[in-house]
């Protein structure tokens, strides 16, 4: 069940990775550059961003900065799911490298810590292999790879994230905070660099505090 769900996301990641490889090579980079980026950075959004900035004539420093801003959300993700990685230093290091939107969402969607750990690692490891394989294939095949937008794959990622987030949204306080945050992110997207609006969504947590104090007179075990 879990593996099938992970496989569905991984398939999308593989095709998106292939398009990243193809786009990078198409913008004039050698084939090994997108492959190196995917292995070491392993954050699709920031990889597309960095290649795009440089292809548009921006400086490498601007590309690095834009990528880091986009990846800043992984810090609160790590705070939220950091305990599922395991205790050894190796698990900590490898697990941190596998900290992506998808592995966070899969872990958050589980009910108990053991399942969360299994989901986190299954998703992280599987996506690491499929994403990097996809990038390698795309970099070698080049422009023969089609545009993933033709297949609607840009809709697959948000839909998958939404499905994984729905269980947490059953909680009224969390839902209010998340909806407020989403509105903030959308309203600021036209004016701010990519990645900043998503971080600003954290201001929606104001709604989490006020509502939960009013609606929960006694502490609830379900969070």
């Amino acid at each position: 069940m879990l593996l099938r769900d992970v496989a569905a996301v991984a398939l999308g990641a593989a095709v998106t990775g292939a398009s990243f490889g193809a786009i990078s090579v198409g913008s004039g980079l050698p084939w090994w550059m997108p492959v190196l980026m995917s292995l070491l950075i392993f954050a699709g959004g920031s990889q597309f961003m960095a290649v795009g900035v440089v292809a548009a004539g921006g400086s490498p420093a601007a590309a690095v900065l834009a990528g880091l801003v986009l990846n800043a959300r992984h810090l609160p993700f790590g705070l939220a799911v950091g305990d599922v990685l395991g205790n050894g230093w190796l698990a900590r290091i490898v697990g941190s490298h596998l900290l992506i939107d998808e592995s966070t969402a899969f872990a958050m969607a589980q009910k108990d810590p053991a399942r969360a750990r299994a989901a986190y690692w299954a998703c992280g490891v599987t996506l690491f292999f499929t994403w990097n394989t996809g990038v390698l294939v795309g970099a070698l095949a080049g422009q023969a790879i089609g545009d993933p937008m033709t297949f609607g794959l840009d809709a697959a990622f948000p839909a998958a994230m939404l499905a994984l987030t729905l269980p947490a949204l059953k909680d009224a306080a969390t839902r209010n905070a998340a909806l407020t945050g989403a509105v903030i992110a959308l309203a600021t997207t036209p004016f701010l660099p990519a990645g900043v609006p998503v971080l600003l969504a954290l201001a929606g947590l104001v709604a989490f505090r006020s509502t939960s104090k009013k609606e929960e007179p006694c502490p609830s075990p379900q969070s």
Binding site: M33, L75, F77, S96, A168, A177, A178, V183, G204, F208
Partner: protein, 102 residues
Amino acid sequence: MPVTAVLILAAGTFAIRIAGPLLRDRVTLPDRVREIISASATVLLLALVAVSALTNGKSFGGWALAAGVVAGGLAAWRKLPFVAVIVLAAATTAGLRFLGVA
């Protein structure tokens, strides 16, 4: 894209990623703070959903994309299997684009 830039972005991203798990070890958090941190991950994920469903760069992402994500969201809400959610979302968007809907 120089290799140095790739290495700096990779190192910076890893530092951001490992900071959360390490910080979590150092301090024992009160339950209320844990709840807020857990909610913050959900807040960030839903914001990511909203931005990637409705925008492309700094402008509207188009009706085909939005409709696909809505179709997937409805499928998830109606408790359809996860795979069906993804296939429905992608197929709706791809189908609308094939029909000429931007």
